[in-house]
């Protein structure tokens, strides 16, 4: 939509819509903002009536969080998140291809199967998973999480990528084929750039799910493979005050994912190559 063609009234409505967009963003973000604010308070200021916007800030909560062994948890989380997401995208892209562009005959059944693997609540299967992991000696091992997170995110990645791929017009692919491209070339040069926003959205969602996953992590890890969510939850005490400290921990835990979100949303930019191909 070329902005230069906007007439006076639509520029006004354009500004109003932009303002509305900002209002929505700030409203959605407010609880996060409040959490970050609380992270800088002493416990006695964290939870007051009326809520305090002005207070004496302190860094002691962050200090306590950072000195408790966050580094190893961070490394483990990075390993499990990046590892599983890379695996997921590597497995899901060809699978999505086989379900949308050159589909297998039973594509609806395959899709349904993938979805069905997400239907069993983890809580119900956690004791079996624990016992299997114990028996194969994979308790407290970061690879266990990598494998499980991959399986956890694969269905949604396949579904999402498939949706984006099915949008690609057949003519475009044929045009590339006519030009003599082989399948990997066709994929790399034509397909992936066209669905780049889709890949970005999918990867971001997989990263978020893996990074924040708590239940499997707390059950299957102990000291070596502990991830950030498990570390974070350790600040919730039953016989003390902990709101400010928990806020600090949650804020720190969200920073890496926030960065990923920032990077990914830049790919969610209007159809880069569609026009170029045409």
């Amino acid at each position: 939509m070329s902005e230069s063609r906007m007439v006076g009234s639509s520029r006004l409505s354009g500004t109003m819509l932009a303002a509305l967009g900002w209002a929505a963003a700030l409203l959605m973000f407010f609880p996060v903002f409040w959490m970050v604010l609380t992270a800088f308070k002493h416990e006695r200021d964290a939870f007051t009536s009326p809520p305090k916007f002005l207070f004496e800030p302190t860094l002691e909560q962050f200090d306590a969080v950072l000195s408790g062994g966050l580094e190893s948890a961070l490394l483990n989380s990075l390993w499990s998140t990046v590892g599983s997401t890379v695996l997921v995208v590597a497995l899901a892209l060809p699978a999505a291809y086989a379900l949308s562009i050159r589909p297998v005959e039973k594509w609806t059944d395959v899709l349904f199967f993938f979805l069905s693997t997400r239907m069993l609540p983890v809580v119900g299967a956690i004791v079996p998973i624990y016992i299997i992991a114990r028996d194969i000696g994979m308790l407290d091992n970061i690879w266990t999480l990598v494998v499980l997170y991959t399986a956890m995110n694969l269905p949604i990645a396949v579904w999402m990528l498939r949706s984006f791929m099915s949008e690609v017009p057949t003519e475009v692919l044929e045009a590339a084929r006519v030009d003599g491209a082989t399948l990997p070339q066709e994929a790399r040069k034509v397909l992936f750039p066209m669905i780049a926003p889709g890949i970005a959205a999918t990867a971001l969602i997989c990263v978020i799910f893996a990074w924040n996953e708590f239940f499997l992590a707390v059950t299957l890890t102990a000291v070596r493979a502990q991830t950030v969510p498990v570390y974070l939850v350790g600040f919730i005490t039953s016989e003390g005050a902990f709101w400010a400290r928990l806020s600090a921990a949650a804020t720190l835990a969200a920073v890496p994912v926030l960065l990923c979100g920032w990077v990914a949303q830049r790919y969610l930019v209007r159809g880069l190559t569609l026009g170029a191909i045409k």
Binding site: M1, A95, P103, V104, V127, P128, T170, A201, P229, L232
Partner: protein, 329 residues
């Protein structure tokens, strides 16, 4: 270039004109196999073990109590009123949260699809609720936001005459739906934004030139294009929202009474309060069966995701291949 459905396979397979049906089939299945095999191994093994456990009466706290019990666990689960009440709560919660998050997500996606000052920052802010660890976010919602005395929601609403409303106790289901919508609307927004981005701009431009208003253009061009993405969001979101656990655990503990006890929370109580592994497994299996039934109905009857004509047209046309082979023979 106009291609008909029957000629498409032939054009796409032009490189290997002598490929047989089985060769083409294998070629198509190849890319799918790694993901499929991986998923089968990693997910079906625990599921089978769960299924096996569901036929045993086994309480972790009573060592040596594991014994084969036929369908006792299923009987216990299916005749207990707790299960059905939890099912009702699950349905209400899922429907409410999915609807609300799709609406909010759609609104947000539309607002940030346009170009304006600071759009990138705006988008990142909108995604933020989805990034925070759900357990921590729920706990902070319960205390810093919704607490009747110290929470900021009541403080903000006090000029409007709202007193010390105890949200979590008086409106428990509403509270959970609110927190879940806040958490999942960004997810819907991401999917819908991806869909909006893949829209053909030239068509929209042409419509604008022809004098269509924004509303008309949305209703007749964008919305149909978005339909499959909305359905995708609903399907995926539902699968996740059925399993809502963190917010219930942190905010209401399934209460007051059992007002917000959904199936996952009931499962948790069975598995980690009574430590009845067999019953928990049985309940888990029942949840899977129920979800499969509902999903089958939703996907094959209501949704258009599985009747996508574009994809259907690309599926192997077996008869064309057979004809090919006859000709070649």
């Amino acid at each position: 270039m106009a291609t008909t459905a029957t000629s498409a396979p032939r054009t796409l397979g032009r490189r290997r004109q002598t490929s047989s049906l089985s060769q083409e089939r294998r070629r198509r299945r190849g890319p799918l196999l790694p993901a499929l095999i991986f998923t089968i191994i990693v997910t079906q093994l625990p599921f089978i073990v769960t299924l096996v456990y569901s036929f045993f009466s086994w309480n972790l706290l009573r060592p040596g109590s594991r014994e084969f019990a036929w369908f006792e666990n299923y009987q216990e689960v299916l005749t207990g009123s707790r299960t059905w009440h939890a099912l009702l709560v699950t349905v209400m919660l899922t429907v409410g949260a999915v609807l609300a998050s799709v609406l909010v997500g759609l609104a947000c996606a539309l607002l940030v699809d346009r170009k304006f000052l600071g759009r990138g920052v705006c988008r990142t802010l909108l995604i933020a609720p989805f990034l925070i660890m759900p357990a921590a976010a729920s706990l902070l919602w319960k205390t810093t936001m919704l607490n009747p005395v110290f929470g900021i929601v009541n403080w903000v609403l006090s000029p409007l005459g709202v007193g010390d409303v105890d949200w979590a106790s008086s409106y428990p289901l509403f509270t959970i739906i609110l927190v879940e919508t806040w958490h999942w609307a960004p997810f819907m927004m991401l999917i819908l934004l991806g869909g909006l981005q893949s829209q053909d701009r030239s068509v929209l431009e042409a419509a604008r030139v022809d004098g269509a208003t924004a509303v008309q253009s949305f209703r007749f061009l964008t919305l149909p294009h978005l339909r499959q993405f909305i359905e995708l969001g609903v399907v995926l979101g539902s699968i996740y929202l059925v399993q809502t656990f963190d917010s219930i655990f942190m905010i209401t503990q399934g209460g007051p009474g059992t007002a917000t006890t959904n199936l996952p929370f009931e499962l948790y109580q069975t598995a980690f309060r009574s430590f009845d592994v067999g019953e928990a497994a049985a309940l888990g299996v029942i949840v899977v069966i129920l979800t499969i039934i509902i999903a089958t109905y939703a996907l094959r009857v209501i949704s258009r995701l599985f009747t996508d004509p574009v994809v259907a047209s690309r599926v192997l046309d077996v008869s064309a291949y057979r004809r090919n082979e006859e000709v070649a023979a």
